[in-house]
Structures are given as structure tokens and as C-alpha cells.
Amino acid sequence: MLSARWRSSRPPAHKASVYTGGTRDETNFPIGHTILVETGNADIKERNSAHAIYLNSSYGYGFGGGGAQLAGTWRARGGYDSPGSGAWAYCFVRTA
């Protein structure tokens, strides 16, 4: 167990910033970066809940599968159910 709070001595790393890279399979995004995550039919992710997110195929992100896991903590910021299609997608933001 860790008893003391550990704080960063590098303030710039605390700030939300803009991802300027262009790597298809990037896993280390800046704080505040948002992504769209595809999930299965009615696989509900409640607002602000945290989930492990993985690279999915060559174009998306998912909640499982064989791809690399994204670094950090990612929290849900809202989802969308395409009526009748079973296609659900959620916005996630890296928070830490």
C-alpha cells in the first residue's frame, strides 16, 4: 500500500494538451484527449465510468480484443445508440 500522496514534479505533464502525432496505433495520448469507442449491442457504459480501452482493428477502439491497451484512465462522457442498428458508440476522455 502507498501511504503518501505522490505528486508530479513536472507541471506541464498535468495539463490537458493536444495530440499532434499521426501514429495509427498510438497508445499514449495526452490528458484530455477524446476518442470514440465502439461497443456491442446494448453494452451500456454509464457516464463517467472508467474502462480499459484497446486498439481495435486498424481504425477503431474497443473494450476488449487482442489490440494494445491505451495508457491511462479513460472515463465515459456519453454514448449513442443508433436506433435499430445495435451500433453503440461512446465518447471517452483520458483523465489521468
Binding site: 498535468h14 491497451q69 484512465t73 489521468a96
Partner: protein, 162 residues
């Protein structure tokens, strides 16, 4: 901007990737919110609280790291749940490619016992614009046409590429 921190480390689990860990911990995030969460720590990640977590791992070499346990493979139902939905066009073309004409489906629905199930199947067949693999109509039509789940799966995957 609030200072982020790692307040407590509860558990460290290995992952399928070398030197990548899932850390169950309590953190304060960039908005100042503190909560228990799972944090994916990658060795080359330099932002957020990851440098703190990496330092903590170096400072606590005796902390027990739980081994990676692969998740159970998905069941057939779970795999079907994950299949992409088909547009009505894809669904009908997929049926035709499997030598099942739309008129055969219409006849199969007409052959169902009269009642709400038949009415619903007819409405879905005529008016649905997209179909899930787990859509009730699929099972109904599949049964009426004598198709196995595996045959429908194969049809579905092929149709998704049309």
C-alpha cells in the same frame, strides 16, 4: 489546473504485454476528482500520473504483481452480439448469395402460425432498415428456412462485406 496525484495503490496486475500493468489505485485526476480506478501503465507513457506510478513501481519492487489471466473466450452468443449490423440491402443480398431469395423469406413468414409473431416478423421484414445478428426476426426466419446458427453466422459475415 489541478495537480494530479496517486493516492493509493491497491493492486498491480500484469497484462498480455510485457512491462504493461493494470494498476488498481486511487488517483486525483486533472480535473481534481479523486476516485478508485484501473490505470493502464505503459513504460513509454510520459503524461498524467504514469511517471508517478512508474516511480512507485521502482520504489516498491517487493509489491506482489498479480499474474495475467487471459479472459474467458467469448461464447457464441457473445460473438453474435458483437457482429456488425447489416443494412436491409446487405441482408437481402446475403440471402440471395446463399441461394435464399427474398420471396422464400416472404413465404416462410407467410407460413408462420397466424398471430402477433407473424405480424411482427412481416413488419420487420418489410420495414426494418438494419438488422442485428441477434434480431428476433433472424432466428425466426432461420428456423423457418431450416438454417443452423452456424450457417446464419457464415451468411452474416459474408453479407457484411457486401
Amino acid at each position: 489546473m489541478t495537480s494530479m496525484s496517486v493516492n493509493m495503490v491497491h493492486a498491480v496486475r500484469a497484462t498480455q504485454e510485457a512491462d504493461v500493468y493494470n494498476i488498481h489505485c486511487n488517483i486525483t485526476d486533472y480535473l481534481g476528482a479523486s476516485y478508485d480506478t484501473d490505470y493502464c501503465s505503459r513504460p513509454d507513457d510520459t503524461v498524467g500520473v504514469n511517471p508517478l506510478i512508474r516511480q512507485w513501481l521502482r520504489d516498491n519492487p517487493g509489491f506482489q504483481i498479480e499474474p495475467y489471466i487471459p479472459p474467458d473466450p467469448p461464447t457464441e452468443d457473445e460473438l453474435r452480439q458483437r457482429m456488425r449490423s447489416l443494412t436491409a440491402r446487405q441482408f437481402r443480398l446475403g440471402l440471395v448469395n446463399a441461394d435464399i431469395s427474398p420471396s422464400t423469406v416472404t413465404a416462410a413468414i407467410a407460413g408462420m402460425p397466424a398471430g402477433s409473431d407473424q405480424d411482427k416478423a412481416q413488419i420487420e421484414w418489410e420495414y426494418a432498415t438494419t438488422f442485428n445478428r441477434t434480431h428476433p426476426l433472424i432466428a425466426t426466419v432461420g428456423t423457418a428456412l431450416g438454417l443452423s446458427d452456424a450457417q446464419i453466422d457464415a451468411l452474416w459475415v459474408a453479407a457484411a462485406a457486401l
